[in-house]
């Protein structure tokens, strides 16, 4: 079975500051890794995903994440955040070779960007 831990439930940050949202996972099998964003009263939107290959993955809106197999982590980063990045971010895993829609999610991190 897989599990996902997002260590910070809330992250406040000032506009134009860098941010890192932490994600660790546990799995006995190989996994795919995802970050989703949820804006208020909206569904989930895929930010980026790691399937294979380069461990540094670039996504939409200037976000990137790095897969670290030895630390079982997939932290999300952005060098300079905007007010519009205020949202809830979810890290998720799915089992390799199975559905990318059958996801195990972390409990989410609420990013609050202040002017």
């Amino acid at each position: 079975a897989q599990s996902v831990t997002q260590l910070d439930s809330q992250v406040p940050v000032f506009e134009e500051a860098p941010v890192e949202l932490r994600c660790n996972y546990s799995s006995s099998v190989s996994v795919y890794l995802f970050w989703y964003v949820q804006y208020p009263n909206q569904g989930l939107q895929l930010l980026l995903k790691y399937l294979s290959g380069s461990t540094l993955v670039k996504g939409i809106n200037g976000f990137e994440a790095e897969f670290n197999k030895s630390q079982t982590s997939f932290h999300l980063r952005k060098p300079s955040v905007h007010i519009s990045d205020t949202a809830e971010y979810f890290c998720a895993v799915s089992e390799v070779g199975r559905s990318q829609g059958n996801l195990i999610f972390g409990k989410g991190t609420k990013l609050s960007v202040k002017p």
Binding site: G43, L44, Q45, Q100, G101, L103, G108
Partner: protein, 114 residues
């Protein structure tokens, strides 16, 4: 349609009543998923469909929950004899095929049981 469509967007129901939640996937997507998002529980996988069949129903929380999909398209999630703990946002997602393709999410149905 352009995206995954869910209806209604909001539903308030009395405890003990049955409710039906609808999901229209992206045209041509054969895989469809239901999730529940609730306070304290985060996002929980409920069930997924490959075509009209549901290989994995492991996430359905009780026998009051059921789902069907007809014609390989629209899906309905039914909750019978609703309880207050069923209050949550129910999210639907679809993908082109089951394996190795991105899932796209709808905006969800917010269910409130009073």
């Amino acid at each position: 349609g352009a995206g995954v469509s869910q209806s209604p967007s909001n539903k308030v129901t009395e405890k003990g009543k049955d409710v039906e939640l609808r999901c229209d996937p992206i045209s041509g997507h054969t895989a469809l998923y239901w999730y529940r998002q609730s306070l304290g529980q985060g996002l929980e996988f409920l069930i997924y469909f490959q075509g009209n069949s549901a290989p994995d129903k492991s996430g359905l929380p009780s026998d009051r929950f059921s789902a069907e999909r007809t014609g390989g398209s629209v899906s309905t999630l039914t909750i019978q004899r609703t309880q207050q703990e069923d209050s949550a946002v129910y999210l639907c997602a679809s993908s082109l095929v089951v394996a190795n393709t991105e899932a796209f999410f709808g905006q969800g149905t917010r269910l409130t049981v009073v």
